[in-house]
């Protein structure tokens, strides 16, 4: 079967398909097809052996599970093969440049994987007596210390599980601070260019969200923002560097104005990589900022997570930060403060955000990364990240429209639009063309403030040679899009799959496998 897909173009068979059809297995040499575990495994096979269970009298309260669960089992050889074959259908940083704007897809050092797996960290229980986890608490404390040092803030909340969770932490701290002041300020201001998590978070915490316009050069319109400030405004959420890749020059001015109006400044720190070691957000009047350890501090993205989003807090907000937290005691030991102990030290905490102490596995990795780079290395990280992005911006602005190319140097990422492509060709086609060239596409259609956005973030872990090849490839694809090369419309041609039908997927969602699906698959 074949249908019209999301991007509204009719699929047609490409040259390669003839050949593909030619293999009996559907495999193409090392590009291997792989069935679902439900089609491979069965309920008798298992890849784990157990000693027989001693006979005992059941204490299950008569709630034995009698019906078949429907979980297929695979032997170990089948399992290793299944996931190895699946993995080969993925693109990843380890394969090449992964220029997803705003995502900071940098190299993930293998040392970090090794230290995170040390039994002393990976095999300890969150509720062990504290005297038995002093080393683990030390890791949290050390990382917290350096995050505060690098940002010039007052304190840090370590437990948030990702950036969005960190945003919530910051917004809750603001709300708690307002409550403490007995003020009800229902509005949060968010720039149009903000990441979706910003308005979503504010709304989630019960605020109403109002947009702040951007200036033609891609920065927050300070005048408009100042005009909107008032007793109903709890604060602003500003991303710096922003999602157009520009540094918010006037952030300090904005902060002062917001503070003067009785509000707080939340800074989205997802793009901290561009300034780490060179600029301290604390010096710009920020009250709260989350740090994506899975971006700036190189913990792997893992195909969608897990991440970690510690939030640094200003003097004004620190008292309201969440529990639990770790502190170094006068005797040199480390102490975990939970509900009970927090009482004395941290009475105004807004409470707990997650069951335990945060993403330990990310803490070890991020700390190893920070100590490996050191003060000189981290500064170099920011410089090389910015240098690489500007190199791309200037090398390609002749080929693709760079809407803010004139707004000064970019920071960690370069923004382009699809203006100037041939009739009927869009950002999507450029993205799919890059796939055939052996690259993961850049972030597309974000930020929303420009048409057909292409947001390119190379990161500092790319060599000049890698950038030059990417620039050449993107230029070639862009030119094909300008010339209206039809082959580009049906790209990708060489990937494990051609363009997928997202409309079909959403129209009648198939979210779990059902025996019946077999037929569809076979169709």
């Amino acid at each position: 079967m074949s249908t019209v897909n999301a991007s509204g173009w009719k699929p047609q068979m490409g040259e390669t398909d003839v050949m593909a059809a030619a293999t009996y297995t559907g495999n193409r040499a090392l590009m291997l097809e792989e069935a679902l575990i439900f089609e491979i495994g069965d309920s008798h096979t298992t890849g784990v052996d157990f000693d027989p269970a001693p006979k005992v009298q059941s204490r299950l309260g008569g709630l034995e599970r009698n019906r078949e669960i429907g979980l297929p089992g695979l032997s170990e050889p089948e399992t290793v093969r299944h996931y190895t074959r699946l993995s080969r259908q993925n693109y990843a940083i380890d394969l090449g440049l992964f220029p997803l704007g705003s995502c900071t897809m940098k190299h993930n050092p293998r040392l970090n994987e090794k230290v995170a797996r040390m039994k002393g960290f990976a095999d300890v229980h969150p509720l062990q007596p504290q005297e038995t986890v002093q080393g683990a608490l030390q890791v949290i404390n050390e990382l917290a210390f350096w995050l505060v040092d690098l940002t010039g803030m007052q304190g840090v909340a370590m437990s948030p599980k990702a950036g969005a969770h960190g945003e919530l932490c910051g917004i809750l701290a603001i709300k708690a601070a307002l409550d403490a002041r007995g003020e009800d300020r229902p509005v949060i201001l968010v720039p149009e260019s903000a990441h979706g998590t910003n308005p979503a978070t504010a709304a989630f915490a019960g605020f109403s969200v109002e947009n702040i316009p951007a200036t033609p050069e891609g920065r927050v319109d300070v005048a408009a923002l100042k005009a909107r400030l008032g007793p109903d405004v709890a604060g602003v959420m500003i991303t710096n560097p922003n999602t157009c890749g520009l540094f918010e020059r006037d952030l300090k001015i904005i902060s002062d104005a917001v503070h003067a109006a009785g509000g707080y400044v939340y800074c989205d720190g997802a793009n901290f990589n561009a300034i780490v070691g060179r600029v301290r957000p604390g010096d710009l009047g920020v009250d709260a900022m989350h740090i994506n350890l899975h971006k700036t501090f190189s913990t792997p993205h893992g195909g969608g997570g897990p991440g970690s989003g510690p939030v640094v807090l200003s003097k004004a907000l620190a008292p309201y930060g969440p529990i639990p937290f770790v502190a170094k005691m006068p005797d040199g030991s480390f102490k975990l403060f939970e509900e009970e102990a927090a009482g004395e030290m941290h009475p105004e905490t807004f409470g707990r955000m997650t069951a335990f102490h945060g993403q330990m596995g990310m803490f070890t990795r991020a700390l190893a990364y920070i100590l490996s780079h050191g003060a000189d290395g981290l500064r170099q990280v920011a410089e090389d990240a910015v240098l690489n992005a500007n190199y791309i911006l200037r090398s390609l602005e002749g080929t693709l429209e760079a809407p803010f190319g004139a707004s000064g140097p970019c920071m960690h990422e370069a923004l382009f639009t699809d203006n100037g492509l041939a009739e009927g060709f869009s950002t999507l086609d450029v993205a799919k063309g890059l796939i055939d060239e052996g690259y993961h596409p850049m972030t597309v259609y974000f930020p929303l403030v420009v048409h057909g956005a292409m947001l390119v973030e190379p990161t500092e872990t790319e060599s000049k040679a890698a950038l030059d090849q990417f620039i050449g490839a993107l230029r070639s694809v862009a030119n094909r899009a300008k010339q209206g090369d039809p082959a580009l419309k049906s790209a990708p041609h060489f990937a494990p799959r051609r363009r997928l039908d997202e409309t079909l997927a959403a129209r009648k969602p198939t979210l779990v496998w059902k025996e019946a699906e077999l037929s569809v698959a076979a169709e």
């Binding site: 699929p11 669960i69 995502c103 994987e113 040092d149 919530l168 959403a506």
Partner: protein, 456 residues
């Protein structure tokens, strides 16, 4: 520096292309006064891999690792044996260093895995559909309460006293800001919370939240609660903190739960001192458009080949912004992979064997430990975790045991500080990793500790 490929020659050449005299020219938009002149203060300069590794080894040695000692902690995090192939596979660069599968043509590996994961989770929890993971069980629980509010347009959640106290804390934190009201209570040693719950459900209730097995390890049928909830138009949210249990006991979905959330850490993930873990989130099909988080769905490509994509994104923040069902973006993908691999290795048979082994060892341990004078068993029913009542404050006992190199469970005093009626309670988890010698060592150490007395 080993992670930075640019050479100084490269940097010079690139600056020339850019038309900048120096790197500082690229930071001109930073206000003068905010520019750090030199390397950040305090932090040492870069260090060799060897030096960093040694620093971590030293810190790691200060912790008592579960594998090296008789270990009986649970209360929401369980130690199970994870097959070596799981960690090998999740370290494949193509899984480890990939991003969220936004470009499906080159992310089928992650997408197919998520589709398999969603199916495994839905079947395990007894629901129609499941999402692609949440941060952990506690945030999944909160999201479920929020979702019940959206579905029922009500804001009162009835929370069982059997729900993990940290989960309750998380719910309270959120409720404080969303204005939802939570009807909560502390657990009682001698009876479960079912009657209070049945009594509290009314037409204002958006949902009832019940942990299964509960925080003390007790197992109760949820059907009655489901019925009562449904009568009043409320949803039943079941919380499972030990998914291995569902290899032995009925799934909450089978008993009428509308939303089932859980902590998936038991399978594939490990203890990790509390994170990263993986939140499981499943529900009835009819609620799918109110679900938080990512969903992977099946479709076809331009050649009609089966393939997978992220779908129903109109629920999500990156499309819906302030109207999204949740603000979650990065979730717990790699832990979901570990969970799914471990579950594929186990399969129906392995999971059932594993569950049977856990239960049998727990029963044996409960019998041995209750032979100790003054130690009694609180539970009528349990899976692999039960509560003991000691003659003394269990919290002190736990520290004494640790000094004897036995990690002897979680005291209720740690979970419910200040609750006098609970302070002698000790929560003991027994999984397949516990050997008979471990149980004997624990029993001996516990008896010794009780004899010595905890005052000392």
């Amino acid at each position: 520096m080993r992670y930075l490929p640019l050479t100084d020659t490269d940097r010079q050449a690139m600056l020339t292309t850019i038309g900048a005299a120096s790197i500082d020219d690229l930071f001109i938009d930073v206000p003068e006064e905010a520019r750090l002149k030199g390397p950040i203060a305090g932090l040492p300069m870069h260090a060799s891999e060897m030096a960093v590794e040694r620093h971590f080894s030293a810190m790691a040695r200060k912790n008592m690792a579960a594998a090296h000692h008789p270990f009986f902690l649970g209360a929401g995090a369980y130690k199970h044996h994870v097959p070596a192939s799981v960690d090998h596979l999740i370290q494949r660069g193509e899984f480890l260093t990939a991003y969220t599968p936004y470009q499906p043509e080159i992310a089928q590996g992650t997408l197919q895995m998520l589709f398999e994961f969603q199916t495994q989770v839905a079947r395990l929890l007894g629901c129609d559909v499941a999402n692609a993971s949440m941060y952990d069980g506690s945030t999944a629980c909160w999201e479920a309460i929020g979702m019940a509010g959206r579905v029922t347009k009500r804001s009162k959640a009835v929370i069982s006293s059997g729900l993990h106290p940290h989960y309750v804390s998380v719910a309270k934190t959120m409720a404080r800001f969303t204005g939802d009201t939570l009807d909560t209570a502390s657990p009682e040693i001698d009876k479960t919370d079912t009657n209070r719950l049945l009594a509290s459900i009314d037409d204002e209730s958006s949902c009832v939240v019940v942990q299964y097995p509960d925080i003390l390890g007790r197992i109760e049928d949820l059907s009655a609660i489901a019925e009562k909830a449904h009568e009043h138009g409320a949803l039943l949210i079941a919380v499972v903190t030990e998914p291995v249990a569902l290899g032995a006991i009925k799934a909450p979905g089978e008993m009428g739960a509308d939303i089932v959330v859980g902590e998936g850490q038991s399978l594939g993930v490990g203890l990790q001192f509390g994170g990263p873990y993986v939140g499981l989130f499943a529900c009835k099909e009819k609620f799918v458009r109110q679900m938080p988080g990512r969903l992977c769905g099946q479709t076809v490509d331009a050649e009609g080949k089966r393939g997978f994509v992220l779908t129903l994104s109109t629920r999500e923040q990156h499309i819906r912004r302030e109207k999204a069902t949740s603000n979650i973006c990065t979730n717990s993908g790699l832990c979901a992979l570990a969970f799914s691999i471990h579950m594929s290795l186990l399969g129906e048979r392995g999971l059932r064997d594993l569950a049977a082994l856990n239960h049998a060892k727990a029963v044996q341990a409960s019998e041995r430990l209750t032979q100790i004078p003054g130690v009694t068993l609180v539970n009528d029913s349990f899976f692999n975790e039960f509560t003991l009542k000691l003659p003394v404050n269990a919290r002190d006992v736990v520290h004494k045991l640790a000094a004897k190199k036995v990690l002897g469970g979680v005291s209720l005093g740690r979970l419910y500080p200040g609750e006098a009626t609970l302070e002698n309670g000790l929560l003991v988890a027994v999984t397949e990793v516990v050997s008979e010698e471990d149980i004997e060592t624990f029993a001996t150490a516990l008896q010794k500790t009780l004899v010595e007395g905890v005052g000392a």
